[in-house]
């Protein structure tokens, strides 16, 4: 029994390590970034480090523009796909597709970015307009990357709807699609909403693939069209961190971006978990 106690304690230490890491990360980020986190920073319109101007509003808008658009595209393709997987497909088909989707989740983002840079960007430049690097390119690339997560979570929510619901509806004479539309979907709706929110969080954290296709203008502006180029919160950090002078306001500003990013993603994850939990209680 003594071994059991000790074991339990050691295991607890291991488990709390994640908490410690997250705590450390938060502490470090905050410590470095807090001085810069002012309304002027969050709502400032100009990001120009050599002029000591650190306003990230256009960057936030740009990030949201790319992310939300990508989630919309992913939803339009992904929710029907998850409906298909959960309601309309035989077991073996679902297995194959779910497995493929799980593989897609992990495809190295640099390869996707490579594809975006070499195929997508020239295509947009030649057939749609602008320089090719654009919000549009970011949409396509990001949508592809968050699709798998979206489909998985949505499909899980759909499958969690009790079979009795479906059977009751079919017994009443409804077609399969009517059942799905009027019975299954509403029951799974909170889970699906959670999937969307998680997708947004995942998309916000993506760095490499978007960095290669979205343009990085010198002084970002609030985008007015899908062919505009934007900066993302993640790519700003990635590009500028290596040269921001130690202890300079610039470096603090980059940490502050990290803080903003971290909190936005954490908030989204929290909302999603909260939303799912509400469904479970029901």
């Amino acid at each position: 029994m003594r071994t059991g106690d000790m074991v339990s304690r050691i295991l607890f230490l291991c488990a709390s390590l994640s908490a410690v890491i997250v705590f450390l990360i938060t502490a470090f980020l905050l410590q470095e970034g807090i001085k810069v986190l002012t309304p002027g920073f969050l709502f400032g319109m100009t990001w120009s480090p050599h002029r000591e101007l650190f306003g990230i509003f256009p960057t936030i808008v740009g990030t949201l523009g790319v992310v939300v658009g990508a989630v919309v595209i992913a939803t339009v393709i992904g929710i029907p796909s998850s409906i298909f997987l959960s309601e309309f497909s035989p077991f073996w088909v679902r297995n194959i597709i779910k497995s493929s989707v799980e593989v897609i989740v992990g495809i190295p983002s640099v390869v996707i970015g490579f594809f975006g840079l070499t195929v997508l960007v020239p295509f947009i430049r030649d057939h749609v307009g602008g320089r090719g690097e654009s919000i549009l390119a970011g949409w396509i690339v990001l949508a592809f990357m968050i699709l798998p997560n979206l489909i998985t979570i949505a499909e899980d929510s759909l499958r969690a709807v009790p079979r009795s619901y479906r059977e009751a509806s079919l017994a009443l004479g409804a077609t399969k699609w009517q059942t799905v539309r009027n019975v299954v979907l509403p029951s799974a709706s909170s889970g699906i909403r959670a999937a969307l929110v998680l997708g947004v969080g995942r998309a916000m954290g993506e760095t490499m693939a978007v960095l290669m296709v979205v343009g990085n203008p010198e002084t970002p502006w609030i985008p007015t069209g899908i062919l505009d180029r934007v900066r993302m919160l993640t790519s700003t950090i990635a590009i500028e961190f290596s040269y921001a002078e130690w202890g300079s306001t610039h470096q603090h500003a980059l940490f502050a971006i990290g803080v903003v990013l971290f909190f936005m993603v954490a908030a989204l994850n929290f909302i999603a978990t909260f939303v799912i939990r509400r469904r479970n209680i029901q």
């Binding site: 050691i10 390590l17 997250v22 980020l29 799980e102 390869v111 490499m208 290669m212 993640t234 994850n269």
Partner: protein
């Protein structure tokens, strides 16, 4: 349009949606393979980079393998131990919920933030310098929550009867876990770890800031040496390559990376499918 026709139309649309979802996978695989296969040769796989875009990728391949192995060695057992605790020992109190909350938060953290932390804390503060060690530890931060999640799932799925039978025969809780539960959960755990490795090997943002330039012409000799990696190599050549050979090398490296990634992911899934059938749906 009556209901039956509507149903058919909807089915067609759903098929289309599914096709669209997975269409990018074969497109990318075919694109990388078609363009990259020309770069693959013995010199490419065993040679070293030269003048930025010529030469081979041996140090990059080995660097990536080292990074992933070390990261798994660090994050794997730790993640499994955490999962055991969460699944078997954790009481349902505030502390447990906090730990779970933090694990979930870590899972959602953007990789650039983890890279930033790795740079600030490991490279600068702990003076590990840009190195294999800094890169692997940062990657393990990334991998930890996934390992925990997958392992916890795997442990929870083990039927209760296994545990009860073992306890009934007089074994302690720990003995039960060690000799009965864990072996049964191994396939699920291995799947989770392999999937995590697949993700880690393709990770660029973290490695960019902590592990090395990517174009090293040597294999890391110690843990404190900087190390090349396939993702960095691909990124640098894809964005800056200006010769046909450079671009082809980027494709070749992408192909190698994809193959390694697919090997890990596919074997993970095969293992899981095989053993899922044993344990039942």
């Amino acid at each position: 349009m009556n209901e039956v026709q509507k149903e058919k139309l909807v089915r067609a649309l759903l098929y289309a949606a599914v096709a669209l979802s997975i269409v990018m996978l074969p497109i990318i695989v075919v694109w990388v393979t078609a363009n990259g296969v020309g770069a693959i040769s013995l010199e490419f796989l065993t040679g070293r980079p030269y003048r930025f875009e010529y030469g081979g990728i041996y140090p990059q391949i080995v660097g990536s393998l080292y990074l992933v192995s070390l990261c798994t060695l660090l994050g794997g057992p730790l993640g499994i131990a955490s999962a055991i605790y969460l699944a078997e020992y954790a009481p349902d109190n505030v502390v447990t919920r906090t730990v779970r909350f933090f694990t979930e938060t870590l899972a959602g953290m953007p990789s650039i933030v983890i890279g930033l932390f790795g740079l600030q804390f490991l490279v600068y503060y702990l003076k590990l310098k840009t190195s294999l060690l800094a890169g692997a530890v940062s990657l393990s931060f990334l991998m930890l929550p996934w390992t925990i999640r997958a392992s916890e799932e795997a442990i929870k799925v083990v039927p209760r009867e296994y545990r009860e039978a073992s306890l009934a025969m007089g074994a302690t809780k720990w003995q039960t876990i060690l000799r009965v539960v864990l072996p049964a959960a191994v396939p699920g755990i291995v799947t989770g770890v392999l999937l995590g490795m697949g993700k880690a090997i393709g990770e660029t943002a973290v490695v960019w800031l902590t592990a090395g330039s990517g174009l090293e012409a040597f294999v890391p000799r110690t843990l404190r040496s900087p190390t090349g990696s396939l993702p960095m190599y691909i990124y640098l050549l894809a964005t800056q390559g200006h010769t046909a050979e450079g671009l082809q090398n980027a494709f070749g490296a992408s192909l190698v990376l994809l193959v390694m990634f697919m090997a890990m992911s596919v074997s993970a899934l095969l293992i899981r499918n095989h053993y899922l059938r044993k344990l039942g749906p």
